[in-house]
């Protein structure tokens, strides 16, 4: 106990040095907390972008369908799949879709795009289409309705009520089919790919144009009661659905490049943490040595009067421990303050687009309990470990050498 209080007092003999060392360690911890918070915020934004916009949390297709979006590879037992989906308690909602590439032409221009036939009601609980409508109205189920992306509307030079002709090929026989629709709404997702290339119509109209029966569907998008998260993306339902014919995949499997981005960000967090603490440890060692050199005479004296080397080591380690604790206090406070600010007002990063996911919204950093538990514990441990070397040095001081004092 006496060693501890001695160590604590020693810190304030050279307050400036202690403050600088505390700043060094504290800022490292702050940087780590803030960085982790931003990373978490970015990942949440990405995940929301994927699962919230159009994809949903999981999708069901015919095997091989995704490779080319071949219209002939449809699921042809809608009733059976839907009843299975309805009975499953883990599922919150699902929506069927028929999808086809099409030539989309107005009186002025023509563009290639993807046409989604969607169920207006069911789709509301899966995707953001209804919220993305910026002009006109969402689908109501009426015959000739069509929603198109805002960039496509600009390209085709059309507005509400204008005529659009879809040219596509029927399933199975490949016959060319055309449908005349009117623009009933314009959607803006803020994602380039969707705004440029996508059009949405009612599933019944799309099926009729494509020559599909109401039992034939290209895709089911699913939403679960408990969201499939990064860490737990498994689902008994998906496992059950998968067979040689049908492929049921969660959003991580549907977007393999996302797992890569997550991997990279996790890896970079780890690397940054390691580097920060390497630097901080060097600072700690340096600062401890300085304080030992300054007191070398003192150590010589207390050793000469019988203090054990172990006690001297303990003293230095206690000093390091206190520095670490004070640093953590400062780091946590500062980290929490910056985190609180960035989590409410966000950080505008300018425009970025990775893997078709645009991050043009501000990123709101996120708190996580480990930022305030695990991180500080690592900091304390590392600081004390870093102090072992100077502590051993202090323990080995030879009084007769130490008492020779130079200028």
């Amino acid at each position: 106990m006496q060693t501890a209080s001695l160590a604590f007092r020693n810190l304030f003999r050279n307050t400036r040095r202690t403050v600088l060392t505390v700043m060094l360690i504290g800022f490292s911890l702050t940087a780590l907390i803030v960085f982790d918070g931003i990373m978490r915020g970015m990942i949440t934004l990405m995940v929301d972008n994927i699962t919230g916009t159009l994809t949903g949390e999981a999708q069901i297709h015919r095997v091989d369908y995704r490779e080319n979006l071949d219209v002939d590879l449809y699921l042809d037992n809608a009733a059976q799949i839907e009843s299975q989906l309805q009975q499953d308690a883990s599922l919150q909602a699902f929506a069927p879709r028929v999808i086809s590439g099409a030539m989309i032409s107005s009186s002025y221009n023509v563009s290639a795009g993807l046409v989604y036939g969607v169920d207006a009601q069911l789709e509301k609980s899966i995707s953001k289409i209804s919220e993305a409508v910026v002009e006109g109205a969402y689908l109501s189920g009426e015959e000739s309705e069509l929603l198109i992306g805002i960039s496509m509307a600009e390209l085709l030079e059309v507005g509400l009520g204008d005529r659009i002709v879809l040219t596509l090929s029927e399933v199975d026989n490949g016959e060319l089919a055309q449908a005349l629709l009117r623009v009933s709404g314009i959607v803006e997702f803020g994602l380039r790919e969707l705004d440029e290339n996508f059009a949405f119509t009612n599933i019944a109209a799309a099926r009729r144009t494509l020559g599909m029966t109401d039992q034939q569907t290209h895709e089911y998008a699913l939403r679960f009661v408990t969201p499939l998260s990064l860490t737990d993306s498994s689902s008994a339902l998906l496992d059950e659905l998968n067979n040689g014919e049908i492929e049921a995949l969660n959003w991580l499997e549907l977007n393999p490049e996302i797992s890569l981005i997550l991997e990279i960000s996790r890896y970079s967090s780890l690397m940054i943490g390691a580097v920060l603490f390497l630097l901080a440890s060097l600072g700690v060692i340096n600062s401890m040595f300085m304080s030992i050199y300054e007191r070398i005479y003192e150590f010589g004296v207390i050793k000469a009067i019988g203090t054990r080397p172990g006690d001297i080591s303990k003293l230095i380690l206690f000093e390091a421990l206190f520095i670490a604790l004070i640093s953590c206090g400062m780091g946590i406070l500062l980290g929490a303050a910056i985190g609180a600010y960035t989590s409410t007002s966000g950080i505008a990063f300018g425009e970025m687009e990775f893997s078709g996911i645009s991050l043009n919204n501000a990123i709101f950093s996120e708190f996580h309990i480990i930022q305030f538990t695990q991180f500080p514990i690592y900091v304390v441990l590392l600081t004390v470990i870093a102090a072992i070397y100077p502590a051993r040095f202090a323990a080995k001081i030879i009084p007769s050498d130490a008492l020779h004092k130079s200028l």
Partner: protein
């Protein structure tokens, strides 16, 4: 000179401290260079890829064709433009292109296809199209025995239509005059594989595409490759003045989404490096201040025997800069082999990553002066900055007080 000698010796008075400080400086420097090199290298790699793949350094269009492509926004009499570009010594090569969305048919199937008509000889010299051919051979611009032009089709189309080399391909689109365009072509080559960006593209000889779309003697795009890839913007501005009737854009504008993403990402990197270096320098400030405090008595003596305060301050600055320079030098020696290895080998990402519409498949380092110099100046700048308070402290030292301290 004496000042430098003194400063140099002072560094070695406390070897352990100098060494520890140097280590954190070296660590900070190597990390900065590494992350700088990786981001520069990977992005430059991606830029080189799309510039050579299709974008070129500069593109010329009519009006806002780039943002809102329409068939009639075409560049008339491209030969005149070609003559100007061929005479420009900064231009390595250029190619002429025509674009149209269409539907491609075989006997049984159909699929949407992007038709690109290219000046075959010029395209070969400008883009990597010829190298992307996975089956068949680069086509010629002439009609075959049955009066068909040849076409090079993306692997996705070949797969969707179940056709191969020598088979017939029917294209339907809308002509510039509003008529329905349709014609039959002979598949002469397959381009790329089913995951390539141009899997749904049909490449036609320029003349064939012009006939197909009723667009005689006109093109939609001129893509230019420069000899010096750093001058895209300057040269684009120069060409724009020369060709006021067209729109001339450097790749930074053509691939604007990618460019913005890259700039943002790079800015983020700089901020991050700034933080790392800041933390390093909190440690360095600590050391420098300590070394000044330790020598309070010494400075008092120096001042008493007539040293100027400015000289003392300068000595502290020189000491700090020297230590920093030595550290940076060692940092360069340590990081050079690392960077060299990454610039030669790089590593492939398990899945290519799409950045603003550009696929990045490799992380590669860049070995250039820039990569080493920027962190170096950043660190030296910080070193000078923190030596100021320490220097002032040494300069303000009062001999009387100083010699009383122990």
């Amino acid at each position: 000179m004496l000042l430098f000698k003194l400063a140099f010796r002072n560094i070695f008075r406390q070897r352990r401290r100098s060494l520890l400080t140097a280590m954190s400086l070296i660590g900070g420097y190597v990390l900065s260079v590494f992350s700088f090199s990786m981001s520069e290298g990977s992005y430059n790699n991606a830029i080189t890829f799309f510039v050579q793949d299709h974008t070129g350094h500069i593109q010329i269009h009519k009006e806002d064709y780039l943002q809102r492509p329409k068939i009639h926004k075409s560049i008339p009499r491209p030969d005149e433009l070609s003559a100007i570009l061929d005479a420009n010594e900064r231009v390595a090569s250029h190619t002429l292109r025509v674009f149209a969305p269409s539907i491609a048919y075989s006997d049984t199937d159909n699929t949407p296809a992007q038709v690109i008509g290219v000046d075959l000889a010029r395209e070969r010299a400008t883009s990597t199209l010829a190298a992307k051919i996975s089956a068949g051979a680069y086509i010629g611009p002439e009609l075959d025995g049955e009066g068909y032009y040849s076409a090079m089709i993306g692997a996705g189309i070949a797969n969707n239509l179940n056709i191969g080399l020598g088979d017939e391909l029917i294209l339907i689109s809308q002509g510039a005059d509003g008529s329905i365009a349709n014609d039959i072509y002979r598949v002469g080559a397959i381009v790329g594989d089913r995951s390539s960006a141009d899997r749904s593209t049909v490449y036609l000889p320029l003349v064939a595409s012009q006939e197909f779309l009723s667009l005689p003697d006109a093109v939609h795009e001129v893509s230019i490759l420069l000899k010096d890839d750093g001058l895209a913007r300057e040269e684009a501005a120069r060409l724009q003045e020369l060709l006021p009737e067209f729109t001339v854009d450097p790749w930074q504008v053509v691939e604007a989404t990618f460019y913005q993403s890259m700039q943002t990402d790079k800015q983020g990197n700089v901020v991050f490096l700034g933080i790392i270096i800041f933390i390093v320098f909190v440690g360095v400030l600590n050391t420098v201040l300590m070394s000044v405090l330790e020598r309070t008595r010494e400075f008092g003596v120096l001042k008493a025997i007539g040293s100027r305060p400015a000289k003392l301050a300068l000595m502290i600055t020189v000491e700090t800069i020297m230590l920093t320079s030595i550290s940076v030098l060692i940092g360069v020696m340590l990081s050079a082999p690392l960077i060299l290895w990454f610039s030669l080998a790089g590593f492939a990402l398990p899945e290519p990553m799409d950045v603003g519409g550009v696929l990045m498949s490799h992380l590669t380092g860049e070995l250039s002066l820039y990569v080493f110099a920027v962190p170096m100046f950043l660190i030296l700048g910080f070193a000078i900055l923190i030596s100021i308070p320490a220097g002032i402290r040494a300069a303000l030292n009062s001999p009387k007080e100083a010699m009383r301290s122990h």
